[in-house]
Each structure stands twice: as structure tokens, then as C-alpha cells.
């Protein structure tokens, strides 16, 4: 996976790059807005980590250009401006995620991973969490390369959870994904699918967590 970091604070950029390189990603660094835009338009990246206040060209401008050119590139905004208007402006301009400084490196890594996974399709159809891999093209599930047999319903539950790694998904959302509606009976049945799914993927270092009153979440 190839990641571009656009951040004018050299030390911080350096540390983020180092952390991401540890997890076997190729990381490029630029410190000014115009360089960043040139690079994004020329090369192909899997993730753009973008500071908003840059010399040369504002981060939002870069983001708008990327979106206007229909470049399929997940963008995570990194900024010290944490108020809501800024956040909304960033997300409206087409950002996929938003982190306010200061943040923890581990948090940034986890979110970057989630964005990389979400960007499935052309370049990398596989989602990997722990030892479990989900191929989004043929929807096959393997643990350590061994296929796991799932019913279509269980597969559907796993799919929606994996597409939203580290995010809480409500039973209603899962029911909508499976059946296209979320009446009480179908929502109740979700618990059953979850418990069966848990048994089948127990060996994959993957945990389907129950989040009290909110739903479920897959986490490493």
C-alpha cells in the first residue's frame, strides 16, 4: 500500500511516516501544498493523509481538486483546527476521516488501516483483520489461507462488519444490509447470526465485540 503524507511540520510528518512504514506501507512525504497536488495528480496512492494548513496551497483546495478529478483516493484530514465548522467543511469537501491534533500514533495507524481496507475494489480486493481475510470480489473467507464455510447470512454479517472495521454497527443496520428492512423479528435474529459467526471465526484472532446498547464491532 502506498501512502502520501502532506504535513508541513517536518518532525511530526517524519514520525507518522516512520510509524506507517513499520506496518509495511510505502510512505511518501511532502511539506507543501503545491507539491502535494502535483504528486497526487501524477502518481497513484492508496491513502492521502492531509494537513489543512499548508504553505502554498490550502489542504481543502487539494481535497476539492482530488474529488473534482474523480480520483479514487481515501483522504484523512489531519488538523489542529478542531471546531465543528472546520470538520464539516473537511468532510463536505470529500474527506473520508478527520483527526484533530494532538492524536495518538496508534489511533492514527488504526484509522489509516480502516481507510485502506475501505478502499477495496480496483487495487486490493482483500480485507485482512488478524488472521482472517475476506475477499470482496468472490466474498470468500479464509483463516490462515484455510477457507471458512459460512452461510450467506453469516457472510453478509461478516461483510458489513469488516467493511466498517473498528466502527460500531447497529443491529438495525446489519438487518437492513441482510434483508433490506429492519423489523423487530429480523433485528432479533441478528444476535443468532452473530453468535454462530463468532464460533466459526474464533481461530482467526478476530473479535466480534458486543457494544452494549449500540450494536457490534469487529476489532483486531
Amino acid at each position: 500500500m502506498r501512502i502520501l503524507i502532506v504535513e508541513d511540520n517536518l518532525v511530526l510528518a517524519d514520525k507518522i511516516a516512520a510509524a506507517l512504514r513499520q506496518t509495511d506501507h510505502a510512505v511518501d512525504l511532502v511539506h507543501d501544498g503545491e507539491d502535494a497536488l502535483r504528486l497526487v495528480l501524477q502518481e497513484t496512492f492508496d491513502l492521502l493523509i492531509l494537513d489543512l494548513s499548508l504553505p502554498g496551497l490550502d489542504g481543502i483546495e487539494i481535497l476539492k481538486t482530488v474529488r473534482a478529478r474523480k480520483i479514487n483516493l481515501p483522504v484523512m484530514i489531519l488538523t489542529a483546527r478542531g471546531n465543528l465548522d472546520e470538520r464539516v467543511a473537511g468532510l463536505d469537501a470529500g474527506a473520508d476521516d478527520y483527526m484533530v491534533k494532538p492524536f495518538e500514533l496508534s489511533e492514527l495507524e488504526a484509522r489509516a488501516r480502516a481507510l485502506l481496507r475501505r478502499n477495496i475494489g480496483q487495487r486490493n480486493p482483500a480485507i485482512t483483520v488478524g488472521k482472517l481475510t475476506f475477499n470482496s470480489v468472490d466474498r470468500s473467507v479464509t483463516i490462515d489461507g484455510q477457507p471458512v464455510l459460512l452461510t450467506p447470512r453469516e457472510r453478509g454479517v461478516l461483510e458489513i462488519l469488516l467493511l466498517n472495521v473498528s466502527q460500531v454497527i447497529s443491529k438495525e443496520k446489519i438487518a437492513l444490509h441482510l434483508f433490506g428492512f429492519d423489523d423487530e423479528a429480523s433485528v432479533k435474529s441478528i444476535e443468532l447470526y452473530i453468535s454462530r459467526l463468532r464460533k466459526k471465526i474464533a481461530s482467526g484472532d478476530v473479535e466480534v465485540r458486543t457494544i452494549r446498547g449500540l450494536g457490534y464491532m469487529i476489532d483486531e
Binding site: 518532525v11 511530526l12 478542531g82 471546531n83 491534533k101 494532538p102 495518538e104 457494544i211 446498547g213 449500540l214
Partner: protein, 469 residues
């Protein structure tokens, strides 16, 4: 506003009325007095002429009849016509009494009579005020036995004259009172109508939300435009100072956050790659201190944003508390998991609506985030934290609760923890003492009632925010 200013503002109408009515009353009294004087002057003159005529007639009669009194018939006739009692006395030369009423009041001392010129004066006779005339003239009538200076006094009661003046005064006083009353009524209406633009201005200002600082654009009479202009200038200054304040907050946040992020990233990175045990401990301390500093910086900025001076520019709109609480809680789940805390959500809305009429999403998110963060940071591994939303009731608005079974806050300290920079547990390196102060500010901004209670079964803490209906 000082006491004085309020007094002036409430009595503007009264002051205008005073200015209209006081001179009016004085004018009325002046006119009444003048009227009284004129009327009594006139009445006097009429009576005086009558007295002179009577004096002449009576003395002629007395002389011609050689000292006879007026006949009873004439006296009655006189009384009937004048409606007054008439007394007279005729004295011959050397004060010899000729006829009439010998007890009549005398001419005041020090008055010398000119022949043929009547002298008028007021006197008292038989318990009544009388008007009197005295005159002397030369009698040289050969047919009478009187020869020389004759003095005649005639007095007449003043009942009719007093009645006349009384009626006249009563009439004009009534007229004046009616006039004053009508004047007052018209003045009141006029003043009210004159003040109406001010009242409209006041209502226009009162209807505004706290963050509406646009200039006032109401058609106003000339006298008020200056006030409105000054007010608009004030509003403009206020707005620019708030904007500057917010810009300062944004700048400060930026300036603080980036270096903190850098230090934190550096320290975390070093910690990952440190093998030496002592280095690791030092770095862990640096990381945790940096986190705390970062949190302090964040919270300071948030507090600046939610404090009354910082939240003027905040928009309040209908906000669904249930959706907001669920999304904030979801966002903090991973944070809780990292700290080994069981964070969950409890929807007690039972289908009731959980909307807050005037809510601000940012502030509410900030508030709930702080409450959850507190519960996580002060909790021990395994602590159960529950965010609960209770739907709107008949008489109460929606309620937000954050309950934990952590260490709790002793009852005696519950008031003090709401103050800024108060921390109960100096050993706990996580909090910075601003969290609950922020929560309190946000609750205040929403007119919500915040209370700290025991958690379930008297264990831990329950923070309850009850929103208004």
C-alpha cells in the same frame, strides 16, 4: 443598568406627563385667580353703584320727610329686588342723628370725606359681611329743617354677590378640571403614541436570540435614530470583538496543538523503539504527561468556546439527543476498549421524542464526550460505564445520564468539582480538572439542570443532565 437608569427608563411617560400637566395646572390656577378677581371686582362695582343710588335716594327721602324712616313697603321692595338686607343711617351736621340704624359700622379711622365723593369699604354687621358706603353732601333745602353737611351710611349684605362669585368660581373650576382631564387623556395618548416606536424597538431587541448581532433596521422617528445608531455601533463592536476572540481561540488552538502533536508522536515513537527499562519508564511518563497537556489544551479551548463569552456566536437548533448520544458513545467505544472499560448505551426513550428545542450539537457532543472521558479516565479496568437517554415526559424534557461504577465523588466534594481546575485525586495523572466545569457550562447554556448522584446501588457516580421541557 444602574438603578438610576432604570428609574429614568420606567418613568419617561410620567416625566412627559408631569411636564404637560404641571404647567397646565399652574396656568389653570392663575386663570381661576384672575377670574375670581375680575368677578368680585365687577360685583363690587355693581353693588357700589346701587349703594350710592340708595344713599342718595334714602337721604333725599329722609330730608324731605324730615327724618322719617323708609316705609316698610319700600324696605320690602328693596329687599325683594336686591335680595340683600339694607341698613342705613343719616346724620345731620355735627353728627346729630337724623334717622336709620344708629349701630351701623362707622367709617374707618383716618378717612376724610370729600363732599359728594362716596367712600366704599368692607365691614361687619350683625354677624355678616357687609359692603358699606359713606358720603356727605350739603343740604340747603329751605323746605326742610336741616341745613348743612349731612352724612349718610348705607350698608348692604353681600350674600348675592358671594353667591355670584361662588357660582362663577365653581363653574370655571369645573370647566378647568374637565379641560385638564381631557388634556391629560390626550397627553397620555400622545405620549404613548410617541413612545410606541421605542416600545417596538425594545420588542425587536428582546425577540432576538443571544447571538443575533445584526444591526437593527427598524423605521424610527428622528429622536430615536441616534439611539439606534449608537446601539448598532455597539452591536458591531461586540460582534467584531467576539469574532476576534474566536479567531484568537482558533489561532491559539492551532499554535498549541501542532507542537503538542509533535512531542506526543516523538515520545510514542521513542517508546516503541526503546529497549532500556529506565528509558521506557521515562518515556512512558513523557507520553502520559504530554497526553495530559494535550487534553488540557483541548479542554481550555473548549471551555473558551462554551463559556458565555465564547458561545455567543453559537447557533441553537432542534437537536435529537438520542441520536447525538448514541453517535458520541459509538465514537468513544474504542477509546474505552483501550482502557479496558465496558462502555455501553441505554436507550430509555421508549419511543418518546428526545428532541431539544434549542440545542447546539457541538457543545452537547463536547459535554457528553467529557463525561464519558471522565468515567473512562477515573475508572479502573473492568469499570462499567453507561450512557442513558430518557425520553421527554409530560412535564420534563429529555434527560441524559452517564453512570459508572467507578470510584465516584464523595458527597461533600460534589459542589467543588464543578469549579475550574479542581481535582480531587492528585495521584491520578489523567484529569486536568476542567472536564466537569465544561459540562456545567454547556448545561447552563441549554438551561439544563446538572446534578451529581450516586451510581447504581450507591456505587460510583451518576451525572444527570435534565433538559428543560
Amino acid at each position: 443598568m444602574t438603578e438610576n437608569a432604570t428609574a429614568i427608563s420606567t418613568s419617561l411617560r410620567a416625566r412627559l406627563l408631569r411636564w404637560l400637566l404641571l404647567p397646565g395646572l399652574m396656568l389653570a390656577f392663575g386663570l381661576l385667580a384672575k377670574n375670581y378677581l375680575t368677578v368680585s371686582e365687577m360685583a363690587n362695582r355693581i353693588q357700589d353703584r346701587l349703594l350710592v343710588a340708595l344713599a342718595v335716594t334714602i337721604s333725599e327721602h329722609a330730608i324731605n320727610s324730615r327724618g322719617d324712616l323708609l316705609s316698610r313697603d319700600i324696605e320690602l321692595l328693596l329687599e325683594q329686588f336686591t335680595r340683600e338686607n339694607t341698613y342705613y343711617r343719616v346724620q345731620g351736621p355735627d353728627g346729630a342723628f337724623v334717622t336709620g340704624d344708629s349701630g351701623l359700622p362707622r367709617l374707618p379711622d383716618g378717612v376724610t370725606l370729600e363732599p359728594g365723593v362716596p367712600h366704599f369699604y368692607n365691614a361687619h354687621y350683625r354677624n355678616e359681611d357687609v359692603r358699606a358706603v359713606t358720603m356727605k353732601y350739603l343740604v340747603s333745602n329751605p323746605s326742610s329743617n336741616i341745613y348743612g353737611w349731612v352724612t349718610i351710611d348705607v350698608s348692604q349684605t353681600r350674600r348675592e354677590r358671594d353667591n355670584l362669585i361662588y357660582d362663577e368660581l365653581l363653574g370655571s373650576t369645573t370647566d378647568f378640571l374637565v379641560l385638564m382631564f381631557l388634556g391629560g387623556v390626550f397627553a397620555w395618548i400622545g405620549v404613548s403614541r410617541g413612545l410606541a416606536p421605542l416600545r417596538r424597538l425594545q420588542q425587536a431587541i428582546r425577540r432576538r436570540s443571544t447571538d443575533d448581532l445584526r444591526p437593527i433596521r427598524h423605521a424610527m422617528p428622528k429622536e430615536v435614530t441616534e439611539v439606534v445608531r449608537s446601539l448598532n455601533a455597539l452591536l458591531a463592536r461586540l460582534e467584531s470583538s467576539i469574532t476576534a476572540n474566536q479567531r484568537f481561540i482558533a489561532d491559539a488552538s492551532h499554535q498549541l496543538r501542532t507542537p503538542l502533536a509533535t512531542v506526543q508522536a516523538e515520545a510514542e515513537w521513542a517508546l516503541r523503539n526503546a529497549s532500556d527499562q529506565q528509558d521506557r519508564q521515562a518515556l512512558e511518563r513523557i507520553v502520559s504527561q504530554t497526553r495530559q497537556t494535550a487534553r488540557l489544551a483541548n479542554q481550555l479551548l473548549n471551555l473558551a468556546r462554551v463559556s458565555p463569552e465564547g458561545r455567543k456566536a453559537v447557533r441553537y437548533e432542534k437537536t435529537d439527543l438520542l441520536a447525538l448520544a448514541a453517535s458520541v458513545t459509538s465514537g468513544m467505544v474504542r477509546y474505552a476498549i483501550r482502557h479496558d472499560i465496558d462502555l455501553g448505551f441505554d436507550d430509555q426513550s421508549e419511543g418518546m421524542n428526545c428532541e431539544i428545542e434549542t440545542g447546539n450539537e457541538v457543545l452537547l457532543q463536547e459535554m457528553l464526550g467529557n463525561l464519558i472521558e471522565n468515567a473512562i479516565l477515573y475508572g479502573t479496568p473492568g469499570t462499567i460505564v453507561t450512557v442513558r437517554v430518557i425520553g421527554r415526559g409530560v412535564a420534563v424534557g429529555p434527560v441524559l445520564e452517564v453512570e459508572d461504577n467507578g470510584p465516584g465523588i464523595p458527597e461533600k466534594d460534589r459542589d467543588t468539582v464543578l469549579e475550574r481546575f479542581v481535582r480531587l485525586d492528585e495521584q491520578n495523572g489523567q484529569g486536568c480538572g476542567l472536564g466537569l466545569a465544561i459540562v456545567k457550562e454547556v448545561a447552563n447554556a441549554h438551561q439544563a439542570v446538572m446534578s451529581l448522584e450516586d451510581g447504581k446501588d450507591g456505587v460510583g457516580l451518576k451525572v444527570r443532565i435534565a433538559f428543560p421541557r
